[in-house]
Amino acid sequence: MNLIPEPLAFELSSPGRVGVALPKCDVPATPVPAGLLRTELKLPELDELTVVRHFTRLSQKNFSIDTQFYPLGSCTMKYNPKANDAAAAQPGWKGAHPLVGDARNQGAIELVYRLQESLKAIGGFSAVSLQPAAGAHGELAGVFMIRAYHLARGQAGRVKMLIPDSAHGTNPASCTMAGLTTVTIPSDAEGGVDMEALRAACDDTVAGIMITNPSTLGLFERNIEAIARMVHDAGGLVYGDGANMNALTGILRPADVGIDVMHFNLHKTFSTPHGGGGPGVGMVGAAPALAEYLPGPLAVEKDGKFSMATPARSIGRMKAFYGNFAVLVRAYTYIRMLGEEGMKRLAESAVLNANYLKVRLEKHYEVKYPRRCMHEFVAMGDVAEGIRTLDIAKRMIDYGYHPPTIYFPLIVPEALMVEPTETESKETLDAFADAMIKIAEEAKSSPELLHSAPHLTPIGRLDEVAAARCPVLCYRG
């Protein structure tokens, strides 16, 4: 990496310099009214080559899945196949416009329809909406659907959503946005949902439960069917957070174990870009009881003709037109490339890779819940006196790895959450494990090296408190 810090475009500015030469004006000049002119903006004045170099250098400092291993837990930073992009770049897709109407958009709607069908098969759902643009957006849709379902049954008193303490923070946030209250369910000694606490919380005010399986600890929730039964018996519904679907594709259909409504992140499990490279799609799938509440419109087929139609009791639109259409093309391409057999191997390899890394690292980094993991595992970074997970994470940057998710889930102190995904080779996993073991040794032999890391970046250790408390977001030249 180029270690010279990149100046801001403002700092490269030179008065009067321009990037384009406009042709002579061939119409009478009309002055801009003074009231519309702003002089305080101080926009940078740059030539084209300076601009090109500035942004190229910035892009070279960027950390991406195309350059380095990126084991960011719960985010599934898998390789995004270039074939996806090639498919989405075809002129027919690029030039499509939703306002020309269903009749002229048969190809695009057919693709939406086929993707819906594929995802229905993968999840065991009765129907699927591709509208939501992110995982949390899908959660919000699902919680609205659950609320609408209870209201339609005259059960306005069902306002309580049960959420395990290992859940993604977006779960309680989605409930709050939808006007529900949340009740935290503790984990048991094995990292699963505490069944006694769940039983105690199940009453006639329960709207449902939001469950992530595998959980954010990377563990399969063995009691999933009993949990669903308990909540159903209390009159509630089961929401599945599909962020960790990468462990299950082709192996387990969530609807088969009692999930009523669920989102998948196409930008995680189905290999479309995310982490700055999105946009995403947090599609929502529903079991029969909730299908008519899905956000619409959905693609439907009749006698070989495709059209968009909104379900009878739909919660409404979550996104304009067909959602993030170019992402849908990519996800569909990926699913067709892998096929049914590939979907299964995807999950198997993701789980195998995570367990391989776990076994190599658990002697050096304690794993709080040590049973066999699924697609990720949560270790702890306090490997030596005075060393915290943050220090380990910063040092990993020096070795060329994107740090894993840290300090999440909240129930593991000094958490370090590693998700290698299925797209990494054994060589990459071994190189990463070697580096992690070396860092654990450094933590004991030369802790200062970790406290002051990263060293091989244009800017070293940042003051995170100042960054959170007093960020400077505007140029102050």
Partner: protein, 128 residues
């Protein structure tokens, strides 16, 4: 090793309370601030609000996470620590003194007896 205030009582969710005349002062323990790391923001309730034991009364946000803070006892909030708005790091520096969160008038004073003694809390926090 985290410190403990011998005059306070505790909850397993890491809040402390201390008697201050008729009022009760509350904050989070040294163990809690250490686990949270550098605190960047504390959200406190409005004065006059009445809350039940176990209800969330505020939020504490560190560079690592945001967590709810729960009422150790039922009561009516009579004062909040305004200094935390400008200097939330007080919670890290002096969790039992300058880093207090709220003062309240207890509505169920008997709840005090059900809270953890310093020794019991130390044992509980030590298990984590």
């Amino acid at each position: 090793m985290s410190s403990i205030d011998k005059n306070a009582r505790y909850r397993s969710s890491h809040e402390w309370v201390r008697k201050d005349g008729a009022r009760i002062v509350a904050g989070i323990s040294d163990h809690a601030q250490g686990a949270l790391g550098d605190i960047v923001f504390v959200e406190l309730p409005e004065v006059g609000k009445t809350l039940k034991q176990g209800e969330a009364f505020g939020v504490v946000e560190s560079v690592k996470a945001a967590s709810d803070v729960y009422m150790p006892m039922s009561g009516k909030v009579v004062a909040v620590n305004e200094a935390l708005a400008g200097d939330p790091a007080l919670v890290n520096k002096e969790p039992y003194a300058g880093g207090w969160f709220i003062a309240f008038e207890p509505t169920a004073p008997a709840e005090w007896e059900g809270l953890l003694t310093p020794e019991a809390y130390e044992t509980e926090a030590g298990k984590e």
